[in-house]
Each structure stands twice: as structure tokens, then as C-alpha cells.
């Protein structure tokens, strides 16, 4: 097991290098850099050059990259080109909104996805099953921005139940309920997609579990049907679902770019869009690196969890 983890960690190093190199070079290929985006085009070219020098943009790309990498290896993600604050602070202040959105969304996903998936599997080919399966297709086919706009249209504009966006009411009470009311719509948009995915996973792994011999044995020895389903089948069926969470959560943490944009949610996804429009390379690189690390950690944890929970899986090679 330890060997397996070590091996995976070693493989992760070149992959991370690859990610940063590719991202850096693609980014700097763009016409116009941060200075061109920020300053008045009428400005004296000497001053522009001075500005570029201050940010290190006058140097060749590979030097810029090596400098950046050197910083990262020494624990610094550099400074934002926009307001010169450390990248880690800029990302840090956006982390909590994104985290709360991700937790809320994943909560919805499990709260709806697992029970619906279980019932659909237990009553396979019933009306409920078809209905649930159809809705799960709907959930993965519905573009997030369309769902977001529909929710704003109905819940905010037509019935005025919930706010259209933002983290909290400006100048309002800003208590827990105010924050929660702002969280509901964007959280639902993200949650619906994930609920659909969780439901499909739960249903198919539950179906597989139900037809296993140990479930037949449990039934055969006269256990109550509820005990058979919930303690014997469900426990085993949930493994792939938990793995799925390990894979989805880092992606959610990476920031839901479109959802945050629609609801003007000040999270990492919105920061990414702002950084891209302003050519703020250090911020983009920081976000990229962080998300890549989280995705890879999620993958590894999912694999390890899987291997720990299911002794049939033996990682011999890779």
C-alpha cells in the first residue's frame, strides 16, 4: 500500500511540472500582457517599458517561468499584477466563498442523489426508476447558466423569494440567514448536476450489489428486507459513490466559473475570469496549480480509499 502511494506521488511530480509548463507557455503566447491591458495606450513607451521591467515582463518566457518556479519551490506564488498583493492572499480570500458553495452543492448532491439512486435501484424498471433516471439525464444535460438564469427568473425576479446574486446583502443584516439565502440558488445550480451524477452512480452500484451472493444469503437467512438493503447492500454500494466525491470535490473547489459568474459570487471561479481578462499571469498560474494539486490529491485519496475499503483490489502494478 505504502509502495503504491509513493509510486503515485512520484508520478505526480512530472505531471505537475507538465501542467505548470504548459499553462505558463500557453498563457504568455497571448497578444498583450498585463501592462498592455492596464495602462493607457497613450502613455510614453519608456514608462510602459519601465512598468514591464518592474513586473519582469521584459524577460524571455523561460526566464519568467524559472523565476516563477523558483518562487513556488520556496513557498511563494508571487504577486498579482493587478494590485501587487501576494497571489496566495488573493486566492485565499476567495477560497471560503467557493468552499461554502462546494460544500452546499455536494450536500445537496448526496442528500438527493443517494436516496433517489437507492430507491430507483431497489425498484428497478418501476415508474419511479424511469422518472429518476430521466431526471438524472436532465440534470447532466442542463447547461448550468441556463438553469441559473431560470432560477433567477422564477425565484428572484417573478416571486422575489431569493436574492439574484452576491455573497450577502450590502448594507443589510448579514446574519446567517441572509448568507444562506444568497447561497441557495448558486448552490442548487451546482448541486443539481452533481445530484444527477451521484444518483446514476448510486443506482448502478446498488443494482450490482443487490445481485451479489451475500445479499441473497442475507435474504435467505430471513433478515428483514430493510436490513438487507441498508446494512448489507448499501454499505458496499456506497464505495464508488464516495470515490466519486473524492473526484468531484476538488473540481468544485477549483471554482464553478460559470455559476459564480452568473450569481456574482466572489469565489475562485470568478477570480479566474477576472485574472484571464486582465492577463494577471501569477493569479492564473496560482489557481491552475492549486486546482491541479487538489484534483491529483482527490484522485489519489479516492484510489487509496477504494483499496483500503475493498480488499479484493490489490495494486500490484500501477
Amino acid at each position: 500500500m505504502l509502495r503504491f502511494i509513493l509510486r503515485r506521488l512520484l508520478i505526480a511530480i512530472p505531471v505537475l511540472f507538465g501542467v505548470t509548463i504548459v499553462a505558463y507557455f500557453i498563457m504568455t503566447l497571448a497578444p498583450g500582457d498585463a501592462v498592455d491591458m492596464l495602462v493607457d495606450p497613450g502613455l510614453n513607451p519608456e514608462n510602459v517599458l519601465l512598468q514591464k521591467k518592474a513586473l519582469g515582463l521584459d524577460q524571455p518566457v523561460y526566464i519568467q517561468y524559472i523565476k516563477w518556479l523558483n518562487g513556488v519551490l520556496h513557498g511563494s506564488l508571487g504577486y498579482s499584477f493587478g494590485d501587487r498583493r501576494p497571489v496566495i492572499n488573493r486566492i485565499g480570500e476567495r477560497f471560503v466563498p467557493t468552499l461554502s458553495l462546494a460544500v452546499f452543492a455536494l450536500g445537496i448532491a448526496f442528500f438527493i442523489g443517494i436516496p433517489v439512486g437507492v430507491i430507483a435501484a431497489v425498484r428497478q424498471y418501476s415508474f419511479f426508476d424511469y422518472f429518476a433516471t430521466f431526471f438524472s439525464y436532465l440534470g447532466v444535460s442542463l447547461p448550468s447558466f441556463f438553469l441559473g438564469l431560470l432560477l433567477i427568473y422564477f425565484f428572484s425576479l417573478k416571486f422575489d423569494l431569493l436574492p439574484t446574486g452576491g455573497l450577502m446583502t450590502i448594507g443589510g443584516k448579514n446574519d446567517f440567514f441572509d448568507r444562506l439565502s444568497h447561497l441557495i440558488l448558486p448552490g442548487t445550480v451546482l448541486g443539481m448536476y452533481n445530484a444527477a451524477v451521484v444518483m446514476r452512480y448510486t443506482r448502478s452500484s446498488m443494482l450490482e450489489a443487490i445481485h451479489q451472493d451475500y445479499v441473497r444469503t442475507a435474504r435467505g437467512k430471513g433478515l428483514h428486507e430493510r436490513a438487507v438493503i441498508f446494512t448489507h447492500a448499501l454499505r458496499n454500494a456506497l464505495m464508488p459513490v464516495i470515490t466519486l466525491a473524492g473526484l468531484q470535490f476538488p473540481l468544485l473547489l477549483g471554482g464553478a466559473i460559470i455559476t459564480e459568474q452568473i450569481f456574482s459570487w466572489p469565489g475562485m471561479g470568478k477570480l479566474a475570469v477576472e485574472a484571464i481578462f486582465n492577463r494577471d499571469y501569477p493569479v492564473i498560474m496560482g489557481l491552475n496549480l492549486m486546482t491541479a494539486v487538489m484534483v491529483m490529491t482527490g484522485n489519489l485519496l479516492a484510489d487509496v480509499g477504494y483499496a483500503l475499503a475493498d480488499p479484493r483490489i490489490r495494486h500490484s502494478g500501477g
Binding site: 505531471v15 439525464y137 444535460s141 447547461p143 447558466f145 439574484t164 484571464i276 491552475n288
Partner: protein, 299 residues
């Protein structure tokens, strides 16, 4: 639903006795009722996009000063936008852009994915190691973030979106192909082909790829759905197709203004609904294809 059943029943009852593989596949596909209905609906969408000139009631880009911001009426079934362009015609023409992005992008990454996937799966060893790490690198990027960066680098526009989605979408296909190749390469008929001296490229093209076609086709179908979603998301953010060309996502971009969102739902609901309908149909078709082509994977 009725027509789907009528066509499905004779197929299954009369051709059972001597079934070729193709017939077997068609029969299995026809059994998936939602997939059949979706095929019919999707065909209608595709044909109205192809024959947009004949179907659309008005010129989608004609600015009409006499008809700014009209609500739906008999003349303009879905109303008009701020500059008097007929919204229904724009939805019909928008389908052309959205669907072609899906098809072209998937076409590009099928070529890359099949090539790299077969190399990795057939040769294994160092080649496999290298290609697999490349797959890891591309998959480790937060997808939309990288797409956004690339599109803003290359400049927004239809061709660049196709290119970017094509260049980034291949790992999934490469993985499927690699797995199929690893499975097939040790099968007796491939070993036999190698023993009698069939050259490697011929083994790959004539013997392995046709056998791996099922999962590849299914992957491609789902790929078209996700490419359409990506394009619409980019265009929604304003980084996609540029005006005056319209795509469904770009038409929803207008709804970022609260006044249009609230007071003119006929402008943004239809294109959003068309995205949903197309993606839903393609997903059902993909599901039907999976059941038909690869019964091992049936859920």
C-alpha cells in the same frame, strides 16, 4: 412514441432467424425507446439547422428599424431583439453553429485520441508511459479554466473554439482506445495475425480498430454533447462566437442583463431550451448506442 414502436416491432419479429451483426446492433438500439425518440427529435433539429435558409421565416441578421424589441406575435413567433432581428430565425441559424462546433471539435479529438490511444495500447512500455503521463497532464487541468485561457490567447471566435475543444478533449478517447487495445492485443486472433506476418499498421487498422469501434463511437457521441455544452458556456461568457453570428449560448449572453432576463423571457428561454434538448437527445442516443454496441457495459 407510437411511430417508434411501430418501426421497432416488425424489426424484432421478422429478422430474428438470420441476424448479421449490424442487424443485431440495430435491433438492440431500437429496443431503447428513449434513444429512438431522441434520434427522431435530434434529426429534426439537425435538418432544420442544415436547411436553415428554407426553414427560417426571416433573415437572422437583418436589422429591422421598424420592429425593435417586439414581443412574440404571428409575424415574429419568438419576438425580435433590440435591433429588430427575428429571434426564431436566429435560434434556427444558431443551431448550425452550436451543432457544428460539437461535430468538428469531436472530429479533431477523435483523430488525436485514436492515434495516441492506439500507440499507447499497442506498444505499451515507454510509449505507453509517456502518452499516459500526457493524458494525466491534460486531465489535471481544470477543464474550463484552461479552455478559457486558451480561447483568450487565440482570440474568441468559432474556429478557435473548435480548435481548443478539439485539442483538449482527446484524453478521454485516448483512454478508451488504450484500454481496448490492451485488451485486444493479447487476444488469439491478433496473436495469430502477428504470427503469420501481418504488418503492424495493418493489424492496428484492419483488426483492432474495427473491434474497438463500439466504445469509441459511444465516447464520441457523449463528446459531441459535452462540446456543445462547452461552446455554449464560452459563448455565454462572451468568449465564444462573436456577433453578428449567433449560437445558442451567445443568445443567452444577452440575458446577463437583468432587464432582458426579467421582461423578455422569449429571447433567452428558446435558445437555452434548444441546448438542453439537443444535449439531452445526444445523451440518450449515446446511451442507446452503448447498449447496442457493447452489451458488456450495460447498466
Amino acid at each position: 412514441m407510437a411511430t417508434a414502436e411501430l418501426t421497432a416491432v416488425p424489426e424484432t419479429t421478422f429478422r430474428i432467424e438470420h441476424t448479421s451483426l449490424t442487424r443485431l446492433i440495430i435491433r438492440r438500439f431500437l429496443r431503447h425507446r428513449l434513444a429512438v425518440i431522441s434520434t427522431v427529435v435530434f434529426m429534426v433539429i439537425v435538418f432544420s439547422a442544415i436547411f436553415a435558409e428554407q426553414v427560417a421565416p426571416h433573415d437572422p441578421n437583418k436589422i429591422n428599424p421598424g420592429a425593435f424589441d417586439k414581443a412574440p406575435s404571428l409575424q415574429y413567433l419568438l419576438g425580435t431583439d433590440q435591433v429588430g432581428r427575428d429571434n426564431l430565425s436566429r435560434v434556427i441559424y444558431g443551431g448550425r453553429v452550436s451543432l457544428s462546433v460539437g461535430v468538428v471539435a469531436v472530429g479533431i479529438y477523435m483523430i488525436i485520441g485514436i492515434t495516441l490511444g492506439s500507440l499507447a495500447g499497442y506498444y505499451g512500455g515507454a510509449v505507453d508511459m509517456l502518452i499516459s503521463r500526457l493524458i494525466d497532464v491534460v486531465l489535471s487541468f481544470p477543464n474550463l479554466l484552461l479552455i478559457l485561457v486558451l480561447v483568450s490567447v487565440l482570440g474568441p471566435g468559432l474556429r478557435n473554439i473548435m480548435l481548443v475543444l478539439g485539442l483538449l478533449g482527446w484524453p478521454q478517447i485516448a483512454r478508451i482506445v488504450r484500454a481496448e487495445f490492451m485488451h485486444l492485443r493479447v487476444q488469439e486472433f491478433i496473436v495469430a495475425a502477428r504470427v503469420i506476418g501481418v504488418p503492424t499498421p495493418r493489424i492496428i487498422i484492419r483488426h483492432i480498430i474495427p473491434n474497438a469501434m463500439g466504445p469509441i463511437l459511444v465516447g464520441a457521441t457523449f463528446g459531441v454533447a459535452s462540446a456543445i455544452l462547452s461552446e455554449s458556456g464560452l459563448s455565454f461568457l462572451g468568449l465564444g462566437v462573436q456577433p453578428p453570428t449567433s449560437s445558442w449560448g451567445q443568445m443567452l449572453n444577452a440575458a446577463q442583463s437583468l432587464s432582458i432576463l426579467e421582461s423578455k423571457p422569449w429571447l433567452w428561454m428558446p435558445p437555452g431550451f434548444m441546448i438542453l434538448l439537443s444535449v439531452l437527445c445526444i445523451n440518450f442516443i449515446g446511451d442507446g448506442l452503448r447498449d447496442a454496441l457493447d452489451p458488456r457495459l450495460r447498466r
